[in-house]
């Protein structure tokens, strides 16, 4: 399916980087020459509390703001979104559009038979990825779980290119620090930080790429297609 607009809802828990993931995805789409906006929604800012963010990508200017009530893609960053109902909605997939996609970060199936059937009725594809395990394996930290999630949505929908994701990550995390004091000791500290930052960037990118490849292979195998583009031109 090719759509003028791809609406991605990311449901996670505070501290997992769902907000960052949506920002990076939107930044990458912007670099690819598409229209995009991202915004977060959360209550009290605390760890493990429900947090959601939204990324809208399209081929024409996007005005829509706020919560994504009718998403094409839902990404679940943490099993507790489902198992403990740490979601802004019950069930977590309410509002999902027909032909949409649900991506769940879990190493085992989490949905009840009834939920699976309801998604099937809506022709919604279901993709599990062990994103946290992948992050620990590739980046050496579970903090890179959001990178697995970024890679998986990009791998299946190709809504952003790997090149743009790379550049967006650099923009987000690699920003040069502008020293206003200019003392020698401060400069030293920055240099040390920057060496670390480069490593962090490389490992995060590797995590995105690993998830991208897994998701891409899954989409190919299952012949699932959900793209952003001009449906009229495609037809």
């Amino acid at each position: 399916m090719i759509k003028k607009r791809l609406n991605v809802r990311m449901s996670g828990l505070g501290g997992q980087g769902a907000v960052t993931a949506a920002h990076v995805l939107a930044m990458a789409a912007n670099r690819d020459g598409k229209f995009s906006i991202s915004n977060p929604f959360f209550g009290a800012e605390k760890r493990m509390a429900p947090a959601e963010s939204y990324c809208r990508i399209g081929i024409e200017r996007i005005y829509d703001r706020g919560e994504l009530v009718f998403p094409d893609v839902i990404q679940v960053f943490h099993p507790q979104v489902i198992t403990m109902g740490k979601s802004y909605t019950m069930p977590f997939y309410s509002g999902v559009k027909e032909g949409g996609l649900v991506i769940i970060n879990s190493d085992q199936p989490l949905l009840s038979e009834e939920d699976v059937q309801r998604l099937k009725d809506l022709n919604v594809a279901l993709f599990y990825i062990a994103g946290t395990e992948l992050a620990i394996e590739v980046a050496g930290t579970e903090l890179s779980t959001n990178m697995s999630m970024l890679g998986s949505v990009a791998g299946i929908t190709k809504c952003v290119s790997m090149e743009s994701l790379d550049l967006a990550l650099q923009e987000r995390f690699g920003k040069k620090f502008v020293a206003s004091g200019g003392t020698a000791s401060l400069d030293e500290a920055i240099k040390k930080k920057f060496a670390k930052k480069e490593m962090l960037l490389a490992k995060n990118l590797a995590t995105v790429k690993a998830a991208y490849d897994i998701a891409s292979a899954w989409a190919e195998k299952n012949q699932y297609e959900l793209r952003v583009g001009n449906p009229a031109m495609a037809a």
Binding site: H23, A26, M27, N30, S36, I37, S38, N39, P40, F41, G43, Y63, D64, R65, G66, E67, V69, F70, Y88, T89, M90, S94, G95, V178, S180
Partner: protein, 403 residues
């Protein structure tokens, strides 16, 4: 004759060139940047030649206030500090403005309400302070999410009140706002409002003016009144307070001054029209169905119009940019052919619909709503559904969240 006192073309201590504001806003090259609304507020302030910014944390403006603190650390703001509360902040803003500074502050929701006493004081004292209001819920139970109810309370303070739709509006209007506020025949504070989160926390493309250009500094000698420093006429507030004299002269003085403040709001009309290109913006205003809105409701309206187009329903749009001064004449003209006027709002009372009803003939054409409040999002689909119901068309029931 050349103005030998002009600073235009000279540089400030950060190496920025003081630039004619009209030139900077309309003719200087623009760079597209992908920023959150909070970052955009910071970038506007970088170019605003602001003397004093006073901050107090309250979501969703805290990020912007903290980012302006960074600007201060970089040397772009004259002075910056945190007040003890919003009430203190707004009082301190008054002090700084009395002292001849260009003043900036940001607030939201309960903060706006707490500081309310200061706003009519600002306009009464003719202080051209600019205050960003990133609207959020104000009632109990607590909400940090967008809700525009607080704007209703600002409408009768004598402040200028504008309602930004996007971060681009914000960037341009912060800088242009000072030009309107600081005109000698206006010289009033400006409440520049937006819907919190939808603008402040959303990343969007914004076209920025060059960072090495900045506004000419504020000239306090353009104030239409002498500094009301408690001693100087026309208002010797401490030595000859009106409040101590219950007589006709004191009432008349006060009454005429209130009239003068509102006359100044009226006089801002011509400057506002010039700087932000009209108090309203219209699209297909000849359509029989018209969405009239301000802030984020305009954006949601634009999306609804696209959905309606797909179904062959033509719908026009009126974006209200300035609420004070109120674009009464413009709205009467824009809505003269409309059979249905839909006013979507992010608040429970529908204050905008009430203002519009009081402005136009045959006000039964106004449909107040859809309304969302307390932080809810307004999906374009519910605007579409409201319009189709008005037109007597069948609508699908919307399977939303919680369904």
């Amino acid at each position: 004759m050349a103005d030998t006192h002009s600073v235009i073309g000279t540089k400030n201590k950060k190496g920025q060139t003081f630039t004619d504001t009209w030139e900077m806003m309309n003719n200087a090259p623009r760079t597209p940047s992908f920023f959150t609304g909070s970052e955009v507020i910071k970038e506007a302030l970088r170019r605003a030649s602001c003397d004093v910014m006073i901050a107090y944390p309250i979501t969703p403006q805290s990020e912007a206030a903290a980012l302006i603190g960074e600007l201060f650390a970089e040397g772009y703001i004259g002075d910056y500090f945190r007040g003890e509360s919003e009430f203190a902040v707004m009082s301190q803003c008054a002090g700084a403005a009395f002292g001849g500074a260009r003043v900036f502050t940001t607030t939201a929701g309960p903060g706006t309400m707490r500081a309310m006493e200061n706003f009519p004081m600002w306009s009464g004292a003719r202080l051209p302070i600019q205050m960003i209001v990133t609207c959020r819920g104000i009632n109990s139970p607590l909400s940090i999410q967008p809700d525009t109810l607080e704007i209703a309370y600002l409408l009768n303070t004598g402040m200028l009140v504008w309602h930004a739709e996007t971060a681009q509006d914000f960037f341009d209007w912060i800088l242009k706002g000072y030009m309107v506020s600081e005109e000698p025949d206006v010289h009033l504070p400006l409440a520049l409002c937006c819907d919190g989160f939808f603008v402040t926390h959303t990343k969007d493309v914004v076209n920025l003016t060059p960072a090495d250009m900045c506004l000419p500094p504020y000239d306090p000698y353009r104030s239409p009144v002498p500094c009301m420093d408690m001693e100087c006429p026309p208002v010797r507030m401490m030595r000859d307070p009106f409040v101590m004299k219950s007589n006709y002269i004191s009432y008349a003085t006060h009454a005429s001054w209130q009239q003068e403040v509102w006359a100044a709001v009226e006089r801002s009309r011509k400057h506002t029209i010039k700087w932000i290109n009209g108090l309203i913006e219209t699209e297909n205003a000849d359509a029989e169905v018209l969405i009239v809105a301000s802030g984020t409701a305009v954006s949601q309206g634009r999306e609804a119009i696209r959905l309606l187009e797909d179904e062959g329903i033509r719908c026009g749009l009126v974006k209200i940019k300035s609420l004070r001064p109120w674009p009464g004449e413009e709205i009467r003209e824009a809505t003269k052919n409309a059979k249905h006027i839909i006013v979507p709002e992010f608040n429970v009372t529908g204050w905008l619909a009430k203002e519009i009803k009081a402005t136009i003939p045959n006000s039964e054409r106004v449909n107040a709503g859809p309304h969302v409040c307390g932080g809810m999002t307004m999906p374009p689909e519910i605007i579409v559904s409201e319009i189709k119901t008005l037109l007597g068309m069948r609508t699908m029931s919307l399977a939303g969240r919680g369904s």
